[in-house]
Symmetry: C3
Subunit: 317 residues, 3 copies
């Protein structure tokens, strides 16, 4: 496992939430909360990262997450540059490092990387100079740590302490980095119970998600839960899941008001977006009073500000 800390123990990279200590996550969440901004209010701005250069390297398209990191960096006074570079080709391991060394020679301080290939982020982090930080903006099906943090922040804002909560993660768990990072953070924060709800074909391997309860029907799995985290499903999974199309999927696994009624009456509904309305979630639920989906987005910028500040503020000192 990649070492994510400086020698003095402070956080340097954020590639996975695995291996973080509980107090580190707590500090990140507290710092994030300071950057949370109510709808319609002016976002907090500072010059904490003035002079810091952040490279956004997205080799998979993701307007939402890219812009979220871009705004986070800019609100802290950093210089953010979006780059279209190819990192992921294994065959060209050295040329990938040449790209990284070049960006380093251009004095970028932070690389924000989204990549479809497992291991690219750790490979980069293992080769950059001591003053450079690597942040994941999503890695294959493995990890999406800032999403995990924003999910935890959102749950805490709405439900208070995590320890008492039953949390259900629903959908294509097998291929979901969102689910894996949620699992890591909620486990670390000692959620009372984490449930996985998915068609058998989309359930993760038995050796993953240790300690979770597994359900293959929504009806059973949602019983009395406090948090319902829906996942996005890709069209190409329907056949794998032995479900012919989105309509059939919705029939079996879509979150409808009826199904949600089985959860705790004050349960919140989350979704990482973009949503497939009428496939994994009904519009009545997505737009309903229990949905906290929009505050997830807003929390995303706050969390990325906190993470950027944590890894980069030392450079400006």
């Amino acid at each position: 496992m990649i070492e994510q800390r400086h020698e003095d123990g402070s956080l340097r990279h954020l590639i996975t939430l695995e291996g973080l200590r509980r107090e580190e996550v707590e500090q990140l969440l507290q710092r994030s909360q300071r950057y949370v901004c109510a709808p319609g209010a002016r976002p907090v701005r500072s010059q904490a990262l003035r002079g810091i250069q952040i490279a956004n390297l997205f080799t998979e398209p993701s307007t939402r997450t890219r812009v979220s990191f871009e705004l986070a960096g800019r609100r802290l006074g950093a210089e953010v540059v979006n780059l279209e570079v190819q990192l992921s080709s294994r065959a060209k391991g050295e040329s990938m490092l040449d790209t990284i060394y070049t960006l380093q020679a251009l004095h970028f301080d932070v690389f924000v990387i989204r990549d479809a290939e497992p291991g690219v982020l750790a490979h980069v982090a293992g080769h950059v100079s001591p003053q450079v930080s690597v942040l994941s903006a999503g890695e294959a099906h493995l990890s999406h740590p800032t999403q995990g943090l924003l999910d935890a922040l959102t749950v805490r804002q709405h439900k208070g302490h995590i320890e008492a909560l039953r949390i259900a993660i629903v959908g294509d768990l097998r291929h979901s980095r969102v689910a894996r990072s949620a699992y890591h953070v909620f486990r670390l924060l000692e959620a009372h119970e984490i449930r996985l709800i998915a068609p058998p074909a989309l359930m993760p391997e038995p050796d993953e998600f240790a300690g979770c309860l597994r359900f293959t029907t929504l009806e059973e799995g949602l019983e009395e839960v406090d948090v319902v985290m829906m996942l996005r499903i890709q069209k190409e999974r329907f056949s794998a899941a032995a479900l012919p199309d989105g309509a059939e999927y919705f029939q079996r696994y879509g979150l409808t008001p009826d199904r949600l009624a089985r959860a705790h009456p004050e349960a919140i509904v989350m979704h990482p977006q973009p949503m497939n309305r009428g496939v994994e979630i009904a519009s009545e639920v997505a737009d309903g009073p229990q949905s906290v989906i929009r505050s997830q987005v807003s929390n995303g910028v706050a969390v990325r500000m906190a993470v950027l500040e944590t890894v980069a503020a030392r450079l400006t000192a």
Copy 2:
């Protein structure tokens, strides 16, 4: 029709010039004039929109207009982010709104939208939060309000009061948002006469452009006019217009020095760009002493600064 004003009567959105009051347009033009910058002079810069976030959402390519809005926002100290998002798919009405809600949750204050589909802008404006403004950067064949304002500003700079003027709009009026916004603004400012000059097939429906005179030859239509507004013609229109190609079109409807001689000797020539030289306009005219085409571009930034300041400055107060 979409309500473009706040409850206190001040301008909130700018999606069309239809329905604006004359004094509102006059104020926008006066404010624009303050931002006009002579060639070679340093542009006016301010921090009036410091902390304001502007999202440039262009679903049709338009470097010119996009950059013009980007520079306008930046010169006022705002944060401008260019986004490649899909807004226009009708079938996905809700997913379009999800995108908008996401951007809102990221605390964007102004959406600048160019879209090929009629109604998208009004749909967005009808759903955004009270503090968010929607500005059109061109909507289908319907409306391009900042272009209309910059055209009016350009005419006023060169010809003084609009009331006394005969204005000819020439070319593919049927499909032109530039023509429609010019019509709205010059009508509001009570131009003496507005003439439409086009091949019959490119003439708008009879119930549009009320009160204008219609001509099917340039020779007649240009007689004694003070302003000649040329429109860009798309190649695919030639067959519709029963004209085989650009050369034939030029033969019949191209603005040549000879034809321009029929206009008032001090008439000005305008074009929204990009020009098809040798198709709708001869180079001698485009680059000649009566052309004010380049000052249109420069006025474009000034007008967009004025519009942005008008809708967004209240947010920083």
Copy 3:
């Protein structure tokens, strides 16, 4: 040849290093050195170009050079906008100028242009307003002046005075703008000897690179040289060079530790990047103690800051 100076003799454009005086190059190098930043140190930032607008017009892809100019401009406080415009179509000479006039009307002060077509840069420079500067970021096979300057800066940092040096340029000289600009700058700085090493088919025409020694084997050409400048080779050249593929090319012309041993023991190795490791250069050499490749990248920003400041600082006065 294009006049690159203002009437008062100061530098206005930088399209080629040909025709520059030695003291002009010396001044640029001295100014560059002030912006050089050690690895891990904070880059120098200033507001020297505050209010200046720079348009990055890259019609050939080049993340490295584009970002280098972007960072250079931003570190000096300028506004940098990346534009995707088409400049290079000869057939559309006038429409290319319309684009330039439009950008000028938007008050851009500096155009940074990379273009595959010889002559586009001079054509643009010949038509812009007196206060506008045109900088080459690479033109066809002809010229890449800021690369030439950064190469000279790198050599000087590592080897001191250029006059005493034997410099070898190795590879696809025939098609290389990097080689041509290196030749110009090292000639001007009176390098003791410039050697060209290439397969016969990739050697430039006899009337080019006057005064250089030509070698067709690395073994002979590298004997006792102080500087080895490797060039990138494009795959499509192998057949032209009568070499079937990259492996064969490496066999004959790749820079290996053995071959490098023929050079002076303190010789430095350079490469403009991106490298084809295992084709024109062995990884042991690219990453070895004689390689200064990464300091070239870092020097690139410093040189571009110096050039931008030289041509644009007068505008803010």
